[in-house]
Chain length 422, copies 2
């Protein structure tokens, strides 16, 4: 990794420090910059104070070729980025007539009656280049300083992203000689990180020096990432497939695609359709499916049956089953699959019924108990799970596990053992 | 803010730097620590390298009474936090028989066959106190150093949170003399941040010095936060209500509750019920409602009718309407409200139909066009919106705006002008 250009990100704002805002900007910028070939050195978040911003610039410029700041470019008094940057560089803030004309035009479009109140948006640092903002009133700034580059961007994510894509990325690619960054991802579902690592034994130590491996667990998924600079594509692919083979049927994507997209692609290819019948997941399963662009090609609809009356009237779960075995039971989810397939007319269906909590649990069916079923005209499989965590954790795990049961059925793979899941 | 104890957060991990993981840990810790009364000085993220971790500790300890690190405590070679911390402090890593017994017990519970492979989880820094992890194999560490405190926590969010709540928060409260931190929140929906600020004019400058105001926009919401240390409760409340009054009917909560909870509380109090009929929101509206614990008291169910056949068969939208006016039309969403109320039997319903994109738009109905209707037996209101942004943006905005139309109807407030929304 010698001579790889380096980049750091400086976030300015008390709201990030006190956790009112999650700093998704730094993650997004880190991902963009590392994909372009930069080594990311540090992320730093400081208070809206001139001294702190100057400290951040000094520390990050000491180890980075590029420093990108986000936040503090707005029109109010607590927006300190431009004054602090000017002082740090020993430059003046000057009023740009060109930027002001752009601000006036922006204000007209947005029906802002009195653009004078945001007049200071037209102030730029002398020698800097304004980067026009397609989404807001605060332009970014591009500053070259002793062979290094400082870019100041607004903190509002969609404004920051728009300026970065339009004006920053092309300029950075032109200015720096960037190595090729390669990355391969394996997405798995069902097993906890420890079990996934266990399956690979000491394989990570055998990887070539220029390939790094990372394990990134979320609720019931683990992403394995292989990455490196100027790596031989063939060697990277060999390791990618070798690891996927060892991990076996917990792997659902080698292309970093979400599970709902993987299923969608299988269904589209087979020209088959799907519907869902949801109780405890409350529409989240449908949301995962419909988040994928083009899902209307294979997704027909959903019945969320929170109330038992809806389970019996719309989905045909016999009242007797609901009375004797309860809504959280095998015959209930099995009939939910049959019922929703019938009224919506889909090839496949997934159904969930469980206790998401925090209340509603019993000694026999504690919070986290979820029955999930999936099937088509010929096959039907139902499994009882015990998911840990908050209400939202249980909902999310149940929805993902429902999708994974369908994936396994579509791919003719055995169902997962519910006692081994994370 | 003199003499307020200060805290900073050090995140260790390349995966955060390159944006593979969003650093929600720092936001959560910042929120917890600031609520406890700490002033948050800095967040810093560094690479998994001993030199970088030592740099981070030195820089943050220079300005903070408490430094909390997350990440790098796992059993693998690239987990560098403990060795780097030991070197920074000039202490040794020692094997703790007590921690080892705990690790063995943990491994048994999790069916990890060979706990020897995670033997180094029992290594602690001499003089440190292990903080047992209720959710994983990596214990945290509590270290007192020259009147300051260093706490090392794992990077997995639920493990970090569990240790913080159980072991760190109580110890910090005991050790530090913390001022009372007060916070009041106003949640608004519909207008962009610039318009919200505009309504308040120069009011923010008139606030007492020890009360700070912040504006936190998300997609179509703006949160206004008033906060300060040792503020007079009555004065804070006066400003809280004054600002809410100026902002008027865009305010939906003075208690920092999500919109779905506000609506749920009104419905529960009136003993009324709700259902939804969703096309473009694809179950997300149902998910927002069912994310609230106890929503089964008032939420009955949903029909997601992605396919037109479901709109006509289940919800009774006449095929003639679908043919002549289209699925994205006023009569369609109006009938969806009537139809879902009828088959599910709820008092109220919300219906959505639109084009979430990225494809499917036409010159007459471009991507982002969404019809939303809400009503009960007596009233019915339908509005056409044009939402900007990605597929997920349009889905989220439409679902939230549907909830807000219902809130306005429940509270007898006028509907929002769709041309003014953000």
């Amino acid at each position: 990794m010698n001579n790889v250009p380096t980049a750091s990100i400086l976030t300015i704002g008390d709201e990030v420090l006190i956790g009112r805002t999650i700093d998704s900007n730094s993650a997004w910028l880190g991902s963009q910059l590392s994909s372009m070939g930069f080594e990311i050195r540090r992320h730093l978040t400081v208070q809206d104070k001139d001294e702190e911003i100057k400290y951040g610039l000094k520390e990050l410029l000491a180890v980075s070729d590029v420093v990108i700041t986000t936040g503090g470019l707005g029109p109010t008094e607590d927006d300190r980025t431009k004054p602090a940057l000017a002082e740090f560089l020993g430059k003046k803030l000057i009023f740009s007539e060109e930027v002001w004309q752009w601000v006036i035009k922006y204000a007209q479009q947005k029906h802002i009656e009195n653009p004078e109140i945001i007049r200071n948006q037209a102030e730029i640092i002398e020698g800097s280049e304004p980067l026009y903002n397609p989404e807001g009133s605060a332009p970014g700034l591009w500053i070259e300083h002793n062979d290094k580059v400082i870019v100041a961007l607004p903190g509002v994510p969609w404004e920051m992203k728009a300026i970065f894509k339009q004006s920053v990325a092309p300029r950075l690619k032109e200015k720096f000689n960037l190595p090729e960054f390669k990355i391969k991802v394996i997405r798995t579902i069902g097993l906890p990180e420890a079990s996934v690592r266990n399956k690979l034994k000491d394989l990570p130590n055998k990887l070539p020096e220029n390939i790094q491996i990372g394990f990134y667990p979320s609720l019931i998924e683990v992403k394995i990432v292989l990455r490196g600079y100027d790596v031989d594509e063939k060697i990277l692919e060999q390791w990618h497939h070798k690891i996927a083979k060892i991990l076996g049927d917990i792997v659902y994507s080698l292309e970093d695609k979400p599970l709902a997209q993987v299923i969608g692609e299988i269904l589209r290819q087979r020209q088959q359709t799907i519907s869902t019948a949801e109780s405890c997941t409350g529409g989240y399963l449908a949301h995962l499916i419909t988040s994928i662009p083009g899902s209307s090609d294979y997704y027909l609809g959903t019945v969320v049956s929170y109330h038992n009356q809806v389970k019996s009237n719309l989905l045909g779960v016999p009242e007797e089953v609901l009375e004797t075995q309860g809504a959280v039971s095998k015959p209930t989810v099995e009939q939910m699959v049959r019922g929703v397939r019938q009224i919506i007319g889909s090839d496949w269906a997934v159904a969930t019924s469980g206790i998401a909590g925090p209340t509603g649990g019993t000694p026999e069916k504690p919070v986290g108990t979820v029955w999930i079923a999936t099937g088509n005209n010929d096959r039907l499989s139902a499994i009882k799970f015990h998911f840990s965590g908050s209400r939202l954790d249980v909902i999310t795990k149940a929805a993902l596990m429902g999708l994974d049961m369908l994936r396994r059925m579509l791919e003719d793979k055995p169902m997962i053992d519910p006692n081994k899941i994370s």
